[in-house]
């Protein structure tokens, strides 16, 4: 038996034509937002900062104020959530993203209709034993699985080389296939001190999706971090500033008792990776002007570090 035809030719032509007109017109007029089922863009903030809550409550509030998860994740889409799992540390050290935040984001993606949600980070010193320790100790492995996230360990075979358009020092990068093939890329860094980049936030967190991260160190860390944003920026950045490691970063001490941590209970979300780093630097207590890669990222037009020009919504619980 043949499947009954769902559309006849005329209907398809007609619908296609009107849809094309609609989309094309919207793009020409620069008003694409209504296509996404959102209100006028004027009402949506560029950056949302929320404080004084637990990581799950912070995220729910923040994403609400940014227009809801459905703005970023559509039905059936493949999502990659990229936390910082770089070091074999327990969450209390503040060197890795809060596991509850990762769990909440995955749940939120599935609630918005995501087909698959992957969780991945290319750990520093990617030997097999160390990678396993990082995933386990950070609590992210368990938390992500609890939310039906697909936890992807590090291997050597999943990277593909891409060209960085306009990269000054970073010309090519070996990027993890998950990032290249996904529909939505959500960057979930933790805000922390970094011994050689001053701070590690959203832009720095992208070193965890490339294989040739040591090349960054070799040819110039700040420039390479900024250059990568010319290739791909995440669709959403969620900065975890709940527990902030104030010194001895990026690894922090292995004993959480000695970790120089400040409980700030803060969360930042934005689509603008430079803006979110600038705002996070302020939360840390540093001037974004002093952070090399933020300045370069702004100059290369990957985002806007001038927070005064942006529409920022803040909320204290």
């Amino acid at each position: 038996m043949k499947e009954p035809q769902k559309f006849n030719r005329r209907e398809v032509l007609g619908k296609g034509l009107s849809l094309g007109l609609l989309v094309g017109g919207a793009v020409i007029l620069g008003k694409t937002d209504f296509l996404l089922g959102q209100g006028p863009s004027a009402s949506l903030p560029d950056l949302v900062a929320v404080k004084n809550g637990e990581p799950d409550a912070l995220f729910k509030k923040a994403i609400d104020l940014l227009g809801g998860m459905r703005r970023f994740v559509k039905k059936g889409q493949t999502v990659v959530v990229k936390p910082n799992i770089g070091f074999p540390r327990v969450p209390e050290v503040g060197a890795t993203t809060h596991p509850l935040l990762v769990k909440t984001i995955i749940e939120s993606c599935y609630a918005a209709g995501a087909g698959k949600v992957y969780v991945f980070d290319n750990v520093v010193t990617p030997t097999a034993g160390n990678a396993r320790n990082c995933y386990r100790l950070s609590g992210i492995d368990e938390a992500a699985r609890a939310a039906r996230g697909i936890v992807v360990p590090v291997d050597d075979f999943s990277y593909r080389e891409v060209r960085i358009p306009g990269g000054k020092k970073l010309k090519t990068a070996d990027v993890h296939g998950l990032i290249l093939d996904c529909d939505v890329f959500i960057n979930v860094p933790v805000l922390k001190h970094h011994s050689s980049a001053h701070l590690s936030i959203a832009m720095k967190n992208l070193m965890g999706i490339v294989k040739n991260r040591m090349e960054y160190h070799l040819v110039g860390l700040d420039q390479c971090i900024a250059d990568f944003c010319l290739y791909r920026k995440p669709d959403l950045n969620v900065v975890d500033a709940y527990r902030v490691l104030m010194s001895q970063g990026p690894a922090g001490p292995s004993n959480p008792h000695f970790a120089d941590v400040q409980i700030k209970k803060t969360l930042l979300v934005s689509q603008d990776i430079v803006a979110v780093d600038a705002a996070a630097a302020r939360i840390f207590g540093k001037d974004p002007e002093d952070i090399g890669y933020i300045k370069i990222g702004h100059a290369q037009k990957s985002g806007n570090m001038n927070l005064k020009d942006l529409k920022i919504v803040t909320y204290a619980m």
Partner: protein
């Protein structure tokens, strides 16, 4: 159950356990290493000589007593290399290759000469002779060099196959075996396969010093195999199944010093004239022969050597200074170079268990007296700060079993920064790869005009090699130099904790 079935079941079980000891992953290795090596002759002997650990001493005595009662059952039940040869022999019989064994006269000169050399080498701390002859060490190296890479390789391939179905597992690290060490293992593998297929247990009866030593004891064992001379028809069926080639059917004589107690002859004998039961060894004076004199001489020499071996001072005095000027970094817990190289039997168990695969067999890096002993291979990997597996599994105590907190302070070497090639000093750009990975805060950074220059604070450096592995320059700008005698690093002072701010210390304001 016949004795043969009993032997097959038990040796099969031990074979699998010994396989898992080396190829079962770090956790299983750590558990099994507390159970199995005390009952392996050479590791137990080495451990007992250096530090009479109760279990190891008991194991050693156990092996001697067992042999004095039952003969060389050790060789058929407990020795993994023996079981490997039995499997090879059984397989070759199955496919019709070399189905029959035959009596061969003993080569006493060779076998006791080798025993004397091994014992003498043990005294002199010349471990190569021990590790190149010891069946346990060879078993360990064969599994580590061939079976383990095969297992981890196929495991990692299987992981790849699961990826399209969203099944993800952490890959496993394959140990890095240096080519000369691998070549040596391959040569031995070829030799043992050839000998097993063509000459049965010849290795055990002529080369293996453990076999030779236990053979001396087995001459006087309580339980013995003996053929009733009058009932024997000289059909030679027993000799055809005797892997040790120790049954002389013409004279109905069974050489207990070479018999590995496999019990095959009991079933083969049509008239059941061969019996295995307690018997008083009939020593007849007309039996005295030059060969026997050599046996006694060899036994005496071996015994003396073993006695002397227990005097550590003498071993120290007689040690052949053979190590090269620049030796590799030795594992944490090995104390100092001399202590380590004189106790290690090069069984590669630490190499197999090391989760970061930083341990690799050396070749002649420690000199000819300590071939194949493990070293830290910092070009491939680094020593994990949170790990002390090598000490936990080491069967001889060459790597002491340090508590993790203690191991974290043992400096096995120190990192040397080469400022003439370090990118920060040369290019004046930030790098800091070494500082990111340093587990002890030995890497300090001095801020000069917003450039962070690395420095090594030797007080805290334990020489783990994480910085060397992370360093992006070629050649590396930071390298670990070994401490021939390990040192104790200072504990990094705890940072003064800031007073915990109240939950809403900064109020409801944002700094933007």
């Amino acid at each position: 159950m016949t004795l043969i079935t009993f032997r097959k079941v038990l040796s099969g079980l031990f074979f699998l356990l010994f396989l898992m000891l080396f190829a079962g992953g770090e956790r299983l290795s750590a558990i099994l290493s507390g159970i199995l090596p005390p009952f392996q002759f050479v590791p137990a002997l080495l451990r007992t000589l250096a530090q009479p650990a109760a279990l190891f001493a008991a194991g050693l005595i156990g092996i001697v007593v067992l042999t004095l009662i039952f003969g060389r059952v050790y060789c058929s039940f407990l020795c993994p290399l023996g079981a490997l040869q039995d499997l090879l022999i059984a397989a070759s019989r199955k496919i019709g290759l070399r189905p029959r064994h035959a009596y061969r006269p003993p080569n006493n000169l060779l076998r006791y000469a080798i025993l004397a050399v091994a014992a003498g080498a043990l005294v002199a701390g010349f471990q190569s002779a021990v590790s190149l002859l010891d069946p346990f060490a060879w078993w360990g190296r064969l599994v580590t060099d061939f079976v383990l890479p095969l297992l981890t390789g196929s495991y990692n391939l299987a992981i790849l196959a699961g990826k399209p179905f969203d099944l993800y597992l952490h890959p496993r690290q394959t140990p890095f075996i240096t080519p000369p060490a691998l070549a040596l293992s391959a040569a031995f593998l070829a030799l043992i396969v050839y000998l097993a297929l063509t000459r049965g247990r010849l290795y055990c009866n002529t080369v293996c010093p453990v076999g030779a030593f236990l053979g001396l004891l087995a001459r006087f064992s309580l339980f013995r195999f003996a053929a009733e001379k009058n009932a024997c028809t000289e059909c030679a069926r027993c000799a055809e199944v005797c892997k040790a080639g120790c049954i002389d059917p013409q004279n109905a004589a069974i050489d207990m010093s070479r018999c590995v107690a496999c019990f095959n002859c009991l079933d083969a004998c049509a008239r059941t004239t061969i019996r295995y039961r307690p018997q008083i060894p009939a020593v007849r004076f007309e039996d005295w022969s030059p060969a026997r004199r050599r046996v006694v001489l060899g036994g005496f020499a071996g015994g003396l050597a073993l006695t002397l071996a227990s005097f550590a001072g003498l071993r120290q005095m007689l040690r052949i200074p053979s190590a090269k000027a620049q030796t590799p970094v030795t594992p944490p817990g090995s104390g100092n170079l001399a202590r380590f190289t004189s106790r290690c039997c090069a069984c590669s168990l630490c190499v197999a268990a090391c989760p970061t695969a930083v341990l690799a067999p050396s070749f002649a890096d420690y000199g000819t007296g300590a071939l194949l002993q493990p070293k830290l291979n910092y070009e491939q990997s680094y020593c994990d700060y949170e790990c002390n597996v090598c000490g936990r599994v080491c069967p001889t105590g060459a790597i002491a079993d340090l508590a993790l907190a203690e191991k974290k302070l043992i400096a096995i070497g120190e990192a040397k920064l080469l400022e003439d090639i370090c990118v920060v000093y040369v290019n004046k750009t930030n790098c800091g790869a070494c500082g990111e990975v340093c587990p002890t805060h030995a890497m300090r950074f001095e801020d000069r005009e917003n450039i962070l220059y690395p420095e090594v604070d030797q007080r805290y450096c334990i020489g783990c090699g994480a910085c060397q592995l992370a360093c992006p320059t070629t050649p590396r700008s930071i390298v670990v130099e070994p401490h021939k005698t390990h040192k104790r690093a200072e504990k990094y002072p705890e940072p003064a904790r800031r007073p915990a701010p109240p939950p809403t210390a900064s109020g409801d304001d944002f700094p933007f």
